[in-house]
Symmetry: D2
Subunit: 304 residues, 4 copies
Amino acid sequence: MDYIEAISQSYDLVLKLEDRGKIANYIPELAKVGPDKFGVHITTVDQLKFGLGNYQEKFSIQSIAKVLSLCLAYKMQGEKIWSRLGVEPSGTGFNSLVQLETDNGIPRNPFINAGAMVIIDILLSNLGDPKMELLKFIRSLTNQQNIDYSRTISNSEKSYGYRNVALCNFIKSFGNLENEPEEVLNFYFDLCSLEASCEQLSELFLFLANNGKTKHDNTQILSLSKSKRMNALMQTCGFYDESGEFAFKVGLAGKSGVGGGIIAIHPNQYAIAVWSPKLNEKGNSFKGMRFLEEFTTLSQQSIF
Amino acid sequence: MDYIEAISQSYDLVLKLEDRGKIANYIPELAKVGPDKFGVHITTVDQLKFGLGNYQEKFSIQSIAKVLSLCLAYKMQGEKIWSRLGVEPSGTGFNSLVQLETDNGIPRNPFINAGAMVIIDILLSNLGDPKMELLKFIRSLTNQQNIDYSRTISNSEKSYGYRNVALCNFIKSFGNLENEPEEVLNFYFDLCSLEASCEQLSELFLFLANNGKTKHDNTQILSLSKSKRMNALMQTCGFYDESGEFAFKVGLAGKSGVGGGIIAIHPNQYAIAVWSPKLNEKGNSFKGMRFLEEFTTLSQQSIF
Amino acid sequence: MDYIEAISQSYDLVLKLEDRGKIANYIPELAKVGPDKFGVHITTVDQLKFGLGNYQEKFSIQSIAKVLSLCLAYKMQGEKIWSRLGVEPSGTGFNSLVQLETDNGIPRNPFINAGAMVIIDILLSNLGDPKMELLKFIRSLTNQQNIDYSRTISNSEKSYGYRNVALCNFIKSFGNLENEPEEVLNFYFDLCSLEASCEQLSELFLFLANNGKTKHDNTQILSLSKSKRMNALMQTCGFYDESGEFAFKVGLAGKSGVGGGIIAIHPNQYAIAVWSPKLNEKGNSFKGMRFLEEFTTLSQQSIF
Amino acid sequence: MDYIEAISQSYDLVLKLEDRGKIANYIPELAKVGPDKFGVHITTVDQLKFGLGNYQEKFSIQSIAKVLSLCLAYKMQGEKIWSRLGVEPSGTGFNSLVQLETDNGIPRNPFINAGAMVIIDILLSNLGDPKMELLKFIRSLTNQQNIDYSRTISNSEKSYGYRNVALCNFIKSFGNLENEPEEVLNFYFDLCSLEASCEQLSELFLFLANNGKTKHDNTQILSLSKSKRMNALMQTCGFYDESGEFAFKVGLAGKSGVGGGIIAIHPNQYAIAVWSPKLNEKGNSFKGMRFLEEFTTLSQQSIF
């Protein structure tokens, strides 16, 4: 079945499903989003673009942004970043402090909160105007100038993010941050506040389906090897303690965010973004997961 | 670079490397193997067959056999087996009891020892002559009649396997085994004693690169969906707490054993087996891991 | 208030209380005991003896026996036993395997199951007829010849004790047992099957309230220093993860068993035993705990 | 042997011992203290007062102060404080975050850092000028007006206390703090900065050896029951994961601080304070522990 047909059928099927997820409520601002939003957009390396539902509406991409900050740090610093964090699935939730205590402050991977903070720390130490330069990097991936941080969201997180404050100070206590926790947290909350639509997301991430090169201006963002490794990381660690389930049922590299967004990549084929705000108990979009499962089943394509 | 050239160059390069691994010594019989053995064999869906070094010598495949017992249980019982074990990477070592205590006796995945025991329990409950029927199933994958259990190895494991006895009784105490621990352990130790050469291994596992269908007699062993899921499982969970590293550096679905063997699968392309007995600190073949990393780099092919 | 009055008032009060505990059901034989049994007996160093309720009925003393096996091993081997186990409260349940994994097979203290097994192992290695010699030692504490093991109970435990089999093999896998797990378990289950009445218990343990010396025949069982240390151990570790609560509310050295018995010691004053089979959620006798709390409040005596 | 003789002999013996401890260096100011300081002072309920060495020199009492803040909160709020923290030994180090994650933000006891923060939170919510009123309470225990906070020490802790910032925000994230982490930490660091000499400490804590009543002005600070419970808590939880060892070898209720001080209480007899800055690997004064062990052995007195 071709992509458009597979998306259309999957969309219709999942739209009717009872949504057993719950909207994220630990950040007051996130809880204000319409719970029934549902959008999807695919962009292929052959330049097919197709979307359904609320695919042009911007939402808080939250942890999906951790892939982008990692790309920039990885591009700048190369493999030496891995001396400060690992590439292993954590087997625990996204904000667990237990493993950090066992592992002496070395986060298991760059997609759990602790790992993302270490990446932020690397950007802070190596960029003159980190927040602006990261935004510039992100915008350059697709020439979408209107992608931006949301001050409302980041302020909301700053007021309630006690656990992230705990995590960040905990890493610092092990000596694995160069900058002060306050600065790291400040940038971290901004990073998580980035907003984009499904359409924009699928275009932003297309370079990872295209061996590290953008389609709109043919820039090699990451080398072939680094691009493959980014996909490997997303596949093994992109969904917290549901990463195995995602590989098992969907079979793509991907990353989710508590705003209900998911980006998924089929190397050499496409990037696809889906958004539905209600989350399953593991913190991943309930309908988003189901949609992608249907889609890869119907399109009979997965990386396995 | 074509497969033969990539294998040849990788083989030569890794052959010269200092082997920083250590031979497994917890089972006396395994410690008797020549530490410098090094063999590799590829079998492609196009029927290319090529090997180097000790690729025709049989060795103890150990945990690699857990993929085969899982295939049989999955084929027979379908998705309902997942009510008794998970599909998530564990984030801990292969024989950890900690997670079992937290998870009330539900193993995280079928490739850690605890999970393999639950699969064994399923086979025991559903087969008349489990040990013989499993062997028949394995032999049917490639018509290799001389693949067999090793009584010497299994007896050696039975005498020293206190930790596995602990694991098995622990699962039983949570009610997640139907059969008595003694029976489960008996079959488990036999399973791990299976012997095959690299050549045989790459042929045995070819059906997983071929959408679940054997090449030698065109039998659909597993459905397309189940075959993809087996590959996903191997990729996220096949190397214990080094699974992320394997995905990151090698980028194939695979499974290792403490005998020093590794099987790796590139869906739609090939199955490749490598054997070198000395293990790194995570319990995976030191040279085997390095070889596959070189090979996928040179052949510029990975699933990502 | 004097002891007799304090016991009488506490007994009456607790007798009327609703028993919110549950009878231990993991060993079928234990579940057969009358749930409303309630007995108490005090023996003082001044030779006051006083009991109420079912104080002459024998019951399964279970883990209380671990104090007696420890006394014998400690008497025989002295402080060197502490190279194989600790003297710290565990902070976890009585049969946790987690800490053993972290602590490389060294049990935190001699009263959790793992620690008791190490003590059993010491007795097995140092006695000719361990089971009989332990019984002789116990009987000598008070000349009670009819204290004995219960074959019914020990057989019942042997059939269902998967978790203890797991624990024992786990310790063995770390090299902290000299004998085979099967032998250790066999003796362990016999130890836990010992039966005594409240009257007998308070007499058996009187030597620990009397600086290590028996009253009936003035034998120095343990030195003053060792006797004090036994009491300290009971106080910090005698009630699993409720040891702090017991020290806080009762303020005596003591040890409980899942048969619903508790022995408590006030150094230089008395030994008191109480029995009521229904257990609170931590595995200690619900009414037994309440009785002792009332008793030390009314008698205005505790070691603090 | 009488107390003066036992102290003198123990002091001489331990003075000559090689000090295998290390001075606390995580707070720069603490590292400036003379490593060979060694002082001891006893105050008995019979009003014997006797000291040796640097017993009149003030030092940073650190965690010993947690007993005093707990006394005030317990006096004011009674048993209801235990709904927010436990009375169990933790089995882990003083600043572990692992247990908090397992226990949903309920600290195991009031003497680990997390528990002390909850107590601070209670004082903040119930006192008008918490810092001054706590000081007033402490001074009233003995009429020592020159006991005070040290701004130098508290500032030093505030600059390096990332782990405590982590702990405090972690508790807050579970909802177990009413006040903002910044306020709690501020007071917490002040509390730990309190300075007193051995002489002052033994007088401050004498009321706990005297059933809750001060000797200098006969004030009932805590009821008999509460006073006993404070002693029980110190005994089971006062030395982090060396509490069992302290009960086993010393046999008194006590509390240590990373400044190298220890206060120990023999109910109905005495309070004794010892100070020597170098710490063993568990964070307790190396010579202080040894001194108390000798002292209770020579005086042949312990609560057991």
